[in-house]
Symmetry: C2
Subunit: 416 residues, 2 copies
């Protein structure tokens, strides 16, 4: 039979023994119709099984109007919108998620934020975070610097896709030198127009933290699956650890900086009052000639030559255990180091610190010139390597800079 | 001054204001002597600060004799020794860890095991696990098959370095078809001659599990930092998650199969009595033309061409979030798939399952031909891809085989 309903239409579908109601979704298989049921589940029905389809309500894109309320007397927060799920809505035609088209639409979805605070909003671009690179990082850093320089602004919120958020939080930790107020990255795992969305609480807690007396780059997100409080996690020691859970970001090798419920409760050991009085400096040099390689058993070390021949200046190797790769790699590593490349090691286990002294492989790799980055996360190491190599004036001092604790990327007890 | 002591000697060192005692370690810096103190700490002393060194006791390698006790009436367990820390001892000359040279020496270090059980021991090789590849995996699988075919043997223990143990447990789960008894991999994070060693409890629990009525490949190791019980973890759903903690192996996306304290307590939901009555089959084909690539922001998709030009037949991409890479990769992925390569996706977050339907990037990547491996671990996916592509008779059915749940590599509720 011919189907006369279109994606987005609310329909009733007659089958042999029952009738179902739902929204037609775009289907990749022309012989199957895809229906989103009221329960939220999608089902696929072979067209040959359908007796009749009646359109109950035609698809119409909703357009809400939202007037941003007066800012008089409210604390001022900078808001940088960069895209991602937190700036997206459900597309009823695909059943998937679609980006909001402008910042005005963003305000419409988060009226609570604009009612409580005087929000200065800007958006350097709208991009899914898997598509970001160092060019996007620099644009965000520039925008954050501008916001931090505005004396009226108490703190800055950056909304961002969650996929690569920990890379951005790391690189901003390095690029924003002498930070003078909180820079808070936040995200959502589910878009705001879904009942289970984490966007509202994440933004609410991000705003509370943005008004705190601290000066770090942090990620703020759900502390657990419940919808009651968030954690603030240090930008250089955080990682996305679950594909879909709302408490996906975890502090790695350290504790969260603060818990944010009714108010911001800092961790006992945390030294809050470290806002810089010097002028914030934008230190955004970055070399793209860096790579991150996850080692796996039997891997050909030719991958090192590949990057060497491409003119790469540095490689982070995600190693096994305390810092090992196949000992057949040692020769190639020596060659790379001799040619001037920086070869760093990080822990593929994610948790824990490297120690090259325990096993012969580690001792030989260290002798071959591998720089062991202790308890630094692979993702943080990758962006730090690009940032360090971007500084021409640090030529010859790269290793020293990589081991310097710029933004809490090393735990002090381990780095000491 | 000239130092007349050698590495391994127990000495007294006179400094300006104090005298210290300890064992001389091999030092990489000729101007520094390295001393292991009785406290276990190492200190480096510039030679110029040393007034005098007196050798109290010269280094002598200890050779203990150990007679394996009679096996009469004891349950029989197969033991395959492959190297790693669990088959290593402290080297007093380097302060590091050194492999035991033969299996007899292994028995000497673990007398408890040989007193309780009738151990049939064999060692196909002695290797650190970072140096293993598919050749080693096949040798282990062959040895395990032999042991499983011996009707008197109740179960098999494999001792192995911890670094890549989860790759081996995965590949054995696929290679040992119709498994008829427990195959238990175990390890240690600290060598047996250290007070904090986890080797003894791990082996003891591995032996208990080897006598159980189950037929799976598992990893047995400390359940927590305490020295009281272990977990048995499914071979395809386990990962090393800490560089040094004793409870480093964690069940990913599922629960442990059993807790092993005084006895083996299976998880309530676990169906134990699944020992096969068919003959165990060694299914050890493996293609090395596979790679594992961790995606990071800004990464050049040229890495795909590199592997294609090397004649690789398949690549596992560790993706961001629900299964994304930079959308600039889509063209190259299409080319690879067209040329006959299998491109699979796994979750870089480690925890959670992929879902390509939620975001446009995922939908486009799926259309380009990426095979989404749901909640399968990257490491498991890598060895499964090599194993599937090793089967010439599966030509054309590779995707179907990759999605078949051979050894619990998919959680059923997700795979269904």
């Amino acid at each position: 039979m011919e189907i006369k309903a279109n994606a987005g239409d609310y329909v009733s579908v007659k089958l042999a023994k029952k009738e179902i109601k739902g929204i037609i979704l775009e289907s990749y298989d022309k012989d199957v119709i895809l229906v989103k049921l009221e329960s939220g589940y999608n089902i696929g029905i072979p067209k040959e099984n359908v007796f009749e389809i009646n359109v109950i309500r035609k698809y119409k894109e909703e357009k809400k109007e939202y007037k941003i309320p007066s800012s008089k007397g409210k604390p001022k927060i900078g808001l940088i919108v960069t895209g991602g799920t937190i700036a997206s809505k459900l597309d009823s035609r695909t059943g998937g998620v679609k980006a909001l088209t402008d910042v005005g639409e963003f305000a419409q979805f988060y009226p609570g934020l604009f009612e409580k605070y005087d929000i200065k909003i800007s958006s350097p671009f709208m991009e899914l975070s898997e598509n970001m690179d160092s060019g996007h990082w620099k644009l965000i850093a520039k925008e954050a610097k501008k916001m931090c320089d505005d004396k009226e602004i108490k703190g800055v919120i950056i909304t961002h896709g969650s996929d690569t958020l920990h890379y951005t939080s790391s690189v901003l930790s390095f690029m924003l030198k002498n930070l003078n107020k909180p820079v808070v990255l936040t995200f959502s795992q589910r878009s705001i127009d879904r009942a289970s969305s984490d966007a509202e609480l994440n933004l609410e807690c991000a705003a509370k933290f943005a008004l705190s007396n601290c000066a770090e780059v942090v990620i703020v997100g759900h502390a657990s699956e419940s919808d009651d409080c968030c954690y603030a996690l240090r930008g250089t020691k955080v990682r996305k650890m679950h594909t879909s859970r709302r408490d996906t970001f975890k502090a790695i090798n350290c504790k969260p900086i603060a818990k944010i419920g009714g108010k911001v409760e800092f961790l006992e050991e945390y030294n809050v009052g470290n806002q810089n009085i010097e002028k914030l400096e934008l230190d955004d040099s970055f070399s793209n000639k860096v790579a991150l390689v996850k080692f796996y058993p039997g891997q050909d070390p030719g991958i090192l030559d590949y990057y060497k021949e491409k003119g790469h200046k540095g490689i982070v190797i995600e190693m096994t255990g305390l810092g090992h790769v196949n000992s057949g790699w040692i020769g190639k590593i020596k060659n790379c180091v001799k040619s001037g490349m920086i070869i760093c090691g990080t822990a593929g286990t994610i948790y824990g610190a490297l120690n090259p002294k325990v096993y012969s492989t580690g001792r030989e790799l260290e002798k071959a010139g591998v720089l062991y980055l202790k308890d630094m996360l692979s993702e943080t190491a990758f962006v730090k390597l690009g940032w360090v190599l971007g500084h021409r004036n640090w030529k010859g001092k790269e290793k020293e800079k990589l081991l310097e604790n710029f933004a809490g990327e090393f735990n002090e007890f381990l780095a000491g």
